[in-house]
Each structure stands twice: as structure tokens, then as C-alpha cells.
Symmetry: C2
Subunit: 540 residues, 2 copies
């Protein structure tokens, strides 16, 4: 370990003072400009020292909007929500392995949502990586489990081209997680300029024989179509509605879908039940299950003595479109092959809630959802992380004004508030409603601060049941008992009870607590009329 | 993708209904009992469905204390703090890849601190892992970058033995991160019972010739000893003080050390400066740098044109003890070889703060530290994550009552409040003071809830400068400019200003805000007299 090195001497490769001058291009600037050229113009970040040149470049390159999160999970979850609404990636800006680590759970969710995301993760300068310094970390190792594409830039001269490749990877259908690791010297060394945008890889067309097979199955009858991807909210959904109306086929979405269009006048799609027995019952009698952009239903968790596969015996599974294929175009082609006129829209029984009727005096989750359904403005966005409450409440939103709903795709709680944040950035002018369990809301509660800073039109409703309610149920379902004090203490969120009005207020969010239906109606209606972020603590 | 599987049919291996009956042993119970037998009797957890049998076992096995964190980074940071005080591992209980992901940053810090930690991470049941379900994740991949040891249990019958090996790995000197991945079926299937504790791997003795070489260097003069590990707070520090007193050698700690003993009457150890130029200046004229459990100083970050190695030219580096060796015993042996009597304690000029003197009217970081130094009770523990403030304030604590200080070893902010939490669990009866920057405090602010639930004697002081102050400095140091609005927006924490009194209050913590020295004196003195957690927002 003997060492005697002069401070001024820099025989380490790269440790030369060739940092770009203020007026010249550097690697960071070439990356930012390449991202903007490639259609990435929002960055959700929480930078550190190794990302300072990227931060600096934000003022030197026009067109990139920086949004600060006070925790990396906020940034990655917001990028997920942004992608679900914008249909294209935002960038994240993260600090070495640990900073990326803090963002991994929501990148896991984004990966399961097939959301395109471009992570830019700083690393130590190349020569510095040779030493065991405090922040030295295996950045690639951190990135690997959630990334489809990982590259560490080797030089400022190639940084721009790497950035263009990262965007291309993210925009490869149906959407991928691309992680570009940018060593500090690749950011500050001189570069030649931005790289041109690369062609993206759009969804592949579906082969005619797949459409013919699906058409034959639908003509046989007793078919169901299970859909994921853009076909749950674009013209593919309209086509699916036509098919369902004319053939009697049932339409399903996954239990957790990245984005769905719902509400009055929108073709009705059933949610695949969460419980295995319920899912099997839902598909009972189905001769053919036609898949569009998804897989046949699987149990969320394993349970003793239960199978993971939830397709009933005797049900044939037919793939119309794989996730990387154009499911929407396939559904439109299928409707045409079946000879269904374009006017034949689905109009599943729509029991529109009368504007003046009573919502009832009983205060519970159902009452809350009925109020949301009545008061939700046209074209709202719902970020749904209400966990236990969401299963019972979901159906009650079916007749609300048309809206998009974003669900927790990867099961990693702590996505809902960040996803709402990113969705609001992507869709200014649209009202966002964030339905949150109190346990999950605590995970990335720092996102409220970003909502306040950006003055986003988001109303967060916290279902304050003061427990990890889903776990109390799961404890029994897996065959454990949980009668004891220790187990109870791990599932219960009383002692102390979280005061959500204070918590939101501490981050600049106007908040109120309600304990009955009328109170909720008033608070929610007021929130829908106001601008900027609000929070309603619904004590249940 | 055709599939037709009957729900009741379980031809998947493991999907048999052989779950252990309530009265019988299961894998989870065998793991918990093995951990307790091996000296691991606290678990910091945030469990999910796949960990429910472990949770259930907490009531069936006596001797394991569960502590709930509302975010996994709280649990892993608390395990780090616990280990630093207890000298042995706590367990963490985490939920698959994403749950582990949320805990990675603080496991990175724990790894750099050489803190022993045993992570128990649930995974899906073995047969369920074959499917792309929402929470399916590469758990081993998540674990690898921070773990010295990773094993996924293959059967309930081997789970107990794996748990014993995990504890052995964690307790291998100087302390390691061991991650045991426990599939749900290995938790619920029948097991035979706990495994016996395995022998731990204590620090190795230092060879005589290393002690002789160090003694010769000290006799030559102009030597410095740089120390990390237990020798910074146990009898090794006393020996180092004797050596310094008699030979004139200077004593250094790393810029960031896991744990140090400081205060009146404790041998004085200089902190290696954070800035490269200052570190080189500190070592100027040093003929021999003797290392005990650490490496020669390195720059924290790379900067354009600067070397990473900070040992001055002409300074010889000599290793007395490697990190896995017994540095404390080596220092004691060295003092004996040098013939230094045990009574020759270091008594570096101790300018004791007079109990009655004025601390000054100017309200700034230095004033705050002087107040802490005067009011700190005997044998307190300081968790130091004040970042920018800590560099200037550190020296001002040198004459406080004797205390232990815990620093941010891995540079991943968000460790301070959890570390304080774990330290308080490990050391009941000792007062814990958590010094926090506002930026870093927001990372794992959920830890305050755990402090309230467990009624820990922790006083958190938030340095509310409303910025990532360290980054504003770093922006200039790396040669970036940061004059623009976008860059400033990424470093500034105004708009909105966080109200720490409300934030702490929302989680059941009594809090107060102070804006001058007298106010701080009163609030801090009151906190030191009270029991349970408090928070003081120091607006600077």
C-alpha cells in the first residue's frame, strides 16, 4: 500500500486538466442537446456532484425542463407517470449507484408498465473509479435488474451517440428502461456536439393469420379478449368495443394495467380479479382467450397449494398481438375482418349516476368512490394506489366522466404519488386524482413537495385506514396466523397515527381531513374547482 | 402461449399443499430461531406478503424484537446504526427485489462502514418464480452490489442452516453485508428446527514484524497514525493516545468514520480534511503514515485535473493493521513495544467551555455547534449527517462531554435519521443527537415515525438552510458554472419551504423551530432533559 504521489502530478489517465472551457461544448452539454433532439425534454432529477455538469448544461441548452424531486424514487416514479401519458420518455438524473438504488423500485414498476424511461446516472470520473472511495459502487450492477439497456460512456466524444442510443432503446416497442451511466470526466471533457436522433422501433404489425385465427375464434363464440397497452385507451379500445358488441366477446384488462380509458360512453372492459379463485370464475366457460399485448392471467402471489396459472382447463389461449406488436391496429383489422361497421360502438349498460341523487349516509370506501365518480371532471387522470380499497372501488368509477386510470404495475408500493406527479407534468390542463393507501403514500411522500413546487393540478386522496390492510388479509391467506402482538405490530400503522393534513401542509400542500361522506363531497368538489395541488385525508 | 391448467391441479413442483401446520415447525420459524440463537435479536422490517410466515414466527419464537419502518431505507439504515453501537448484526426483513431496492442506499453506507447486517429478503415461492408476475424480480441481482454474501434458500429444510451461515458471514471481521433470500415456500414448508450458531470470524492478530516496523517509524519521528474501526472508540484509542503523547505522532481518522469516541479527556484524533488540498496540507512533512484498519487518504470526488491519491510525495505508507485485523490489539502491542507506560494518556490541550460563559449573539452554524457542545450529556451518541455544516462544526464538539459520533460512511445521504434510530435501539439509556441537513433529512424522513412509535431518546436537529448547500459548492469546484435558473432550481429547496415542525408533528414527534442562539439553547437543553424523540428546526 506504499504510495507517494504528488498532488500536482497527474499521471492517472484522464486526470489531465482538459476540462472544456465555458464557451466550448462538453460531454454533458452534448448529451442534453441530444436528448432534446431525440424528443426527451423533461428531466426528473436528484443530482449530486458527479452530475453537476449535466445540471449546468440545462441552462446552456434550450428546451429541457428540469423537475427536482427530493428523493430519487420520486424522480423515477414521475418518469413512469410521464411516459404513460406522453407516450415517450422523460429522462431521470441520478447520483451513482446509491442514487439509482433509491429509484429502483419505481423503475421496476415502470419496467412492468413498459414505460419508456432514459436514466442518466452519474459516475465517478474514470480514473477515480479505480479507488475504493465512499461513493464507489457497481453502478452497472445496480442498473441491471431493472434495465433493458445499460451502457457506461467511455469518453465525452461518444457520450452524445450513447445518449441517442439510450433514447432509441427506451423507445423500442412496447417501451424499455435505458440506463446511460455518465462518468464525470465524460461530462466535463470537451465534446464535438450533439448526435442526431436515431430511428425509434415502433410496434410491429400483426400477421394476417393471427387476425384470421382470432376472427375464427370470435365467430365460434364464448371468446374473451384480454388487452394491455395502448389498445386500452386509443382507437384499439374503440375497435375492441365494436367487436364485443357484435360478437358477444367479453373484454378484460389485467388486474394492474399501465393505463386504461374508462367512464361513460367508453367501451366497458372488465378488470381481471386479483384473487385466483375469482379470476378462474371470471373466465369459466370461456372457449378461447385472445391476448392483445399481454399474457394469460397469473396469480399475483403464490399461496400454499395453489397454482400460479389461472387459465381454466379447457380454455384455449390465442395470441393476437404480443406486447411489442401493434395491438390497436390488430383490433381494428380484426373488426374489419369480422365486418363490423364502425358505428357499432359498445354501449354496455350505462347506469349513469344522477346528478342530484343521494350518495348515502354510510361512510366507507364505497361511499368515497361514489363521490369521486360523481364529481370527477371530464378527461381526468386517476393514479390508483389505494391497494385494498381499489379492488372494491374500481367498479364504482365505471360510470364516471371519461378518464384515464393508471395502476400499480409492478406491485412495488410508492409509485402512486410520483406517477401522478409525472402524469400532471405530461398532461397540463388535465385534472389528476391520486388515490393512495396511507401505507403506500408514506413510501415516496416527498413527491408532494414537487407537486407544490410545480403547482400541479393534483388532488391526493389518502385512504387513512392506519394499517397495511392488504397484509392483514395476506397473512391469513398464506396460512400464517398473525394472532400475536409482534405480527400485529408489523402491519398496524397506529401508534402514532399519521396526521396527513400536517404532513401535506409541511410541504406546501393545502390539505383537509374528512370523516364522513358529506365532508368528503365538499372537500373533493372544492379540490376539483381549484388549481394547484391539494390533499384530502379520508379517515376510514 | 397456449395453456390450459386446472386450478386445483398442482403439477408444479412445490405447489403441493404441504404447508406446515400451526403446531409444527416451518422454515420461517427455523430461521427466526436460528437468528436468535446466533445473537441476532432485533429485526428492522417492512414486510410484504412473501414474508408473512416470518412475521408470524415472531410471535412463535421468543427473543426477537421487531421494529417497523415505513420505508425500507429506514430499516436498513437502522440496522447500520444498530451494528455500529452493538457490534453485532440486526436483521432486516424486506420484500422481494423492489423492497430490497429501497434499502440499497443505506446498505451501501453500511457496507462502507463495515457494519454487520443480515438481510432476510422474501421471494416468491420457487414454482411461482418461473412466471413474469408483477413482483417477479432478480432478487439476487438487486442484492449483489451491496452484499458480501448472497444465498437464496432452496428448501425449508436448509433455511435454518442458511440463516446460520448468513450470520457467520455478517460477523466476519470487520463486518459484512449478508443477504439471505427466502422464497415463500421455504418459509411455509415444514422444517426440522433451528440450526446451531456457527463460529464467527474475529479480527486476525497483527504480525509482530508489522508492529516492529511501526515502532521503528515512530522512533524515527514525523509519523502519523490514521485509524478506522474499533480502535477509534475502544482501548485501541487509549493506546493510540499514549503513543501520540510519547512519540509526538499525530492521530488521524478518515473524513468519514463509522464510529469515533470524542470529547473531554478522550485522546484527540484529527479528522482528515474533506478537501484535497487541505488533506495534503494536513499530511505535509509526515515521514511515515501508519495505517490502522484503513487506507491512505483519497479524494471523495474526482475533480478536473486533480489526483485522487492524497498522500504527499515523500510520505511513506506503512500498514500496521488491515481492516480485518485487530487494530486495537496492534496499537496496544505497539505502545508496549515502545515502552510507553499505561498512565501516559493523551491530554491534548483541552479548552473546556466554561459552563457559564456566553456562547455569543451571532446565530450561525458555529453558534449551534457550541451550544450542542456545552449541553451534550455524558456518553451521548451523535449521528452526523449535517453535510456542509458538519465540516465546520466538527472541531467545536472536541471539548464536549465524552460521546460517540457516527458519520456518513458511503456518501449516500438519507442515513442519518435511520442510523440514529438503530443506535438508540442498540443503546437504550444513552441520549442520541441526530444532526441533519434538510436535504438529507428528507430522504428517509419516515424514520421519525419509528422513533415516535418506539419512543426513542433521540433529538433531531435539522439545519434548515433550504438548499443542497454542498452541491452549490461542488458545482463551482468541478468547473461548472451554475449561474442559470435551471441549475439553481435543482439545488435550491425553497419554493416551497419545508415546515419541519409540522412534518415532525405529523408523525408524532414534538418539534420546535428556532431562529436564534438563545432559542436553540433553550430548545436543545429542554430536549436533553426530556424523554422520547424531539425535533428542532434550526433556521439558518
Amino acid at each position: 500500500m506504499a504510495s507517494a504521489q504528488k498532488y500536482e502530478k497527474t499521471d492517472e489517465p484522464g486526470a489531465t486538466a482538459n476540462v472544456a472551457q465555458p464557451e466550448a461544448y462538453n460531454g454533458a452539454q452534448s448529451v442534453v442537446e441530444t436528448l432534446v433532439n431525440s424528443g426527451v425534454d423533461v428531466v426528473f432529477g436528484n443530482p449530486g456532484t458527479s452530475e453537476m455538469h449535466f445540471v449546468d448544461a440545462l441552462d446552456r441548452v434550450p428546451g429541457m425542463r428540469p423537475v427536482l424531486g427530493l428523493f430519487e424514487g420520486v424522480a423515477t416514479g414521475a418518469a413512469d407517470g410521464y411516459a404513460r401519458l406522453a407516450g415517450r420518455p422523460a429522462a431521470t438524473l441520478l447520483h451513482l449507484g446509491p442514487g439509482l438504488g433509491n429509484g429502483l423500485a419505481n423503475l421496476h414498476n415502470a419496467r412492468k408498465a413498459a414505460s419508456p424511461v432514459v436514466n442518466v446516472v452519474g459516475n465517478h470520473a474514470s480514473w477515480h473509479q479505480a479507488y475504493e472511495t465512499p461513493l464507489a459502487s457497481d453502478v452497472t450492477g445496480f442498473a441491471r435488474p431493472v434495465s433493458h439497456w445499460v451502457v457506461e460512456t467511455q469518453s465525452a466524444l461518444t457520450a452524445a451517440a450513447d445518449a441517442a442510443r439510450a433514447v432509441q432503446a427506451a423507445r423500442t416497442a412496447p417501451g424499455q428502461i435505458a440506463t446511460l451511466i455518465l462518468p464525470a470526466d465524460s461530462a466535463w471533457d470537451p465534446a464535438t456536439g450533439p448526435a442526431p436522433a436515431l430511428p425509434t422501433v415502433p410496434p410491429s404489425p400483426v400477421a394476417d393469420h393471427a387476425i384470421a385465427s382470432a376472427a375464427a375464434a370470435l365467430r365460434e363464440g364464448s371468446a374473451a379478449i384480454m388487452i394491455r397497452g395502448t389498445a386500452l385507451y386509443d382507437q384499439g379500445l374503440t375497435a375492441a368495443g365494436r367487436i364485443a358488441r357484435l360478437t358477444g366477446a367479453r373484454l378484460f384488462s389485467d388486474t394492474f394495467a399501465p393505463r386504461l380509458r374508462r367512464g361513460r360512453g367508453v367501451p366497458r372492459v372488465e378488470r381481471m380479479p386479483y384473487r385466483a379463485a375469482d379470476a378462474l370464475a371470471a373466465l369459466a366457460g370461456t372457449r378461447t382467450l385472445i391476448l392483445v399485448g399481454t399474457q394469460a392471467p397469473l396469480a399475483f402471489f403464490a399461496y400454499p397449494g395453489q397454482s400460479t396459472v389461472l387459465t381454466p382447463e379447457g380454455t384455449r389461449v390465442l395470441v393476437l398481438a404480443q406486447p411489442h406488436e401493434d395491438g390497436s391496429a390488430a383490433l381494428e383489422a380484426l373488426a374489419d375482418v369480422l365486418g363490423i361497421p364502425e358505428t357499432a360502438l359498445s354501449s354496455a349498460a350505462s347506469h349513469v349516476i344522477s346528478a342530484g341523487g343521494s350518495l348515502g349516509d354510510t361512510w366507507n370506501v364505497a361511499r368515497l368512490y361514489r363521490s369521486v365518480a360523481r364529481l370527477l371532471p371530464e378527461d381526468a387522470i386517476i393514479s390508483d394506489e389505494a391497494v385494498t380499497a381499489s379492488f372494491s372501488g374500481y367498479e364504482l368509477l365505471a360510470d364516471a366522466a371519461p378518464h384515464d386510470i393508471l395502476q400499480l404495475t409492478g406491485g412495488a408500493i410508492g409509485d402512486g404519488i410520483p406517477v401522478a406527479t409525472g402524469a400532471a407534468v405530461a398532461a397540463p390542463g388535465r385534472r389528476v386524482v391520486s388515490l393512495e393507501g396511507d401505507g403506500s403514500a408514506m413510501y415516496t411522500v416527498q413527491a408532494l413537495w414537487t407537486q407544490a413546487r410545480e403547482q400541479l393540478d393534483i388532488t391526493t386522496v389518502v385512504f387513512a385506514n392506519r394499517s397495511y390492510a392488504v397484509l392483514a388479509d395476506e397473512l391469513n391467506r398464506v396460512g400464517a396466523h398473525g394472532g400475536g402482538h409482534s405480527a400485529a405490530s408489523m402491519l398496524d400503522l397506529h401508534n402514532p397515527t399519521i396526521n396527513w393534513v400536517e404532513l401535506a401542509g409541511s410541504m406546501g400542500i393545502e390539505a383537509t381531513s374528512v370523516t364522513d361522506g358529506t365532508g368528503f363531497d365538499i372537500a373533493f368538489a372544492a379540490a376539483m374547482r381549484s388549481r394547484g395541488p391539494r390533499l384530502i385525508e379520508a379517515v376510514l
